[in-house]
Amino acid sequence: MSVLEVSELELSYGGIRALKGVSLSLEEGQITVLLGANGAGKTSLLKAISGLVKPSKGEIKLWGESSLGWPAYRITSLGVAHVPEGRGIFAGLSVRENLQIGGFLAPSKEMPARIEQALTLFPRLKERYSQLAGSLSGGEQQMLALARALVARPRLLLLDEPSLGLAPIIAQEIFRTIRQVHQTGLSVLVVEQNARLALQVADYAYVLKTGEVETHGPASEIRGLEQVSKAYLGVT
């Protein structure tokens, strides 16, 4: 069964049409990457899936159930964790509090164990445990955002440009971790500008162009496509 089934999705902001009939499907336990230029509608698609914006047309099914029109917090309770563009950490909360909020829906007696587990993935956060999240470096903030999402023990993880603004080495570390957590059976949908990096870890890829799916296929195939190489891999 597909984890996520998006069909003919349309979305506009006032007069701006951000999605013009996007269809996409995610297989259980796979990493799917969503490529596309700035303004292609990647963020909008993720927001529509997690319920932050309301599509005007189309259908979204999570584990076979239509989640269209549900508020975001209800979609989260299905097991979807969305790490938004720009990380979306709570700068005025400490690292500990951020992680606690990540597990807002979890039973409180499980919290210590879950937080402990998230911290073993990112030992650096342990050193910063009581600091305000706003005082962390960009890389640490991204780690915190990821750790916070994992505390929720999601079944589907949505990541919006996790490597944005990070040094290459940190970006690689982030992707290594994404792969690591994926091995526990987690399905991942990741939006990425760094196509080379993303296609290395992904199973499947979609390419979005001005609100429409331009092409899609297994990551290995997409990597070989000429237009993708040109546009996103810097090959001329």
């Binding site: 997690s50 319920g51 932050l52 508020p71 975001a72 917090y73 209800r74 989260t76 309770s77 964790a81 969305h82 938004p84 979306g88 709570f90 700068a91 005025g92 909360l93 509090e97 606690q100 909020i101 990540g102 807002f104 829906l105 409180s108 706003g134 916070r148 929720a152």
Partner: protein, 298 residues
């Protein structure tokens, strides 16, 4: 200027600052989450005061009961207002919220005038509160001491609540970023309702304390203190609960010292002073004393 005069002014400033702080907390919490300047907030204080003045004779056997009951009434009224007037406006332009709160304020004021008439009412007090206690050459009224202790207690409780409880941390998260907090699974309606309830409850507390301090109330007494409490919240850093307390005390002390140390002919200008202070803070340090300077949603 003698030391005891200074201390006396200090105490007066802390007393009025406590009242501003109690009202400012609710304004700050609600603004932090909804970006709503709740003009009706001071009127909740007024309603608690008016009901207190009216009901006291029946309940005079137990001022504590009166106190708790009126705080709860204000809290529930705040909850009801959120439900009826503000919730349908979530996601609407900020200006619509602003106008609605102005309208709600007008309804509360006129409604109370229709029920109780516009004339001031005597607020009965109890002996222990109206008594002046002497400490050397400094005198403190019982009501002022009660006000100060209740405010500090509220500050401590609220700080504990927002730092140590899950709901409290969720409330801060919602206040910082509504969208992201929903992604964490938080239904923002709950923290919002809670913010209205707690804030209105404290406004109710302030209303009773106001009655005890000044001995009379009328249907219009809440509006200006409500505005000044907003000034206090801005000074402290709007959205920040400790900031609301700090701002309340800063404003109370500044106001009292302004009146206390200038010739008496200036005392009428205290509101000019207060609102000029607002101008200055807005222009020089709009994030306030304890507010976060990072770019919030507009």
């Amino acid at each position: 200027m003698s030391a005891s005069y200074f201390i006396q002014q200090l105490i007066n400033g802390l007393a009025i600052g406590s009242l501003y702080a109690l009202v400012a907390v609710g304004l700050s919490m609600v603004y932090g989450i909804l970006r709503l300047i709740n003009f009706a907030h001071g009127d909740l204080m007024m309603i608690a005061g008016m009901l207190g003045a009216t009901l006291f004779l029946w309940l005079s056997k137990s001022p504590l009961f009166l106190f708790v009951a009126l705080a709860l009434v204000a809290g529930l009224l705040g909850l009801a207002l959120e439900r009826i007037a503000y919730r349908p406006l979530r996601g609407a332009p900020e200006v619509n919220l602003l106008i609605t709160s102005f309208a709600v304020s007008s309804i509360l004021q006129v409604g109370m005038q229709m029920i109780f008439s516009s004339s001031p009412r005597r607020f009965e007090t109890v002996a222990a509160l109206s008594k002046l206690y002497s400490f050397g050459s400094v005198q403190i009224r019982g009501a002022d001491m009660a006000t100060f202790f209740i405010t500090i207690l509220s500050a401590l409780l609220l700080t504990w609540f927002t730092r140590r409880t899950r709901t409290g941390i969720a409330m801060r998260a919602v206040s910082e970023n509504l969208d992201t907090s929903m992604l964490m699974g938080i239904n923002p309606s709950r923290p919002i309702a809670l913010a209205f309830f707690i804030g209105s409850l404290l406004a109710g507390v302030a209303g009773v304390l106001w009655g005890w301090k000044y001995g009379q109330v009328d249907p219009l007494f809440g509006f200006l203190p409500g505005l000044k409490a907003f000034v206090a919240a801005v000074i402290g850093g709007i959205g920040s609960i400790p900031g609301a307390f700090v701002g309340g005390y800063v404003l109370g002390l500044a106001e009292v010292f302004f009146v206390g140390f200038l010739p008496p002919s200036f005392s009428g200008y205290r509101d000019v002073f207060v609102f000029s202070l607002l101008f200055i803070v807005l222009l020089v340090k709009p994030q306030g004393i304890l507010g976060q300077s990072k770019g919030r949603r507009a």
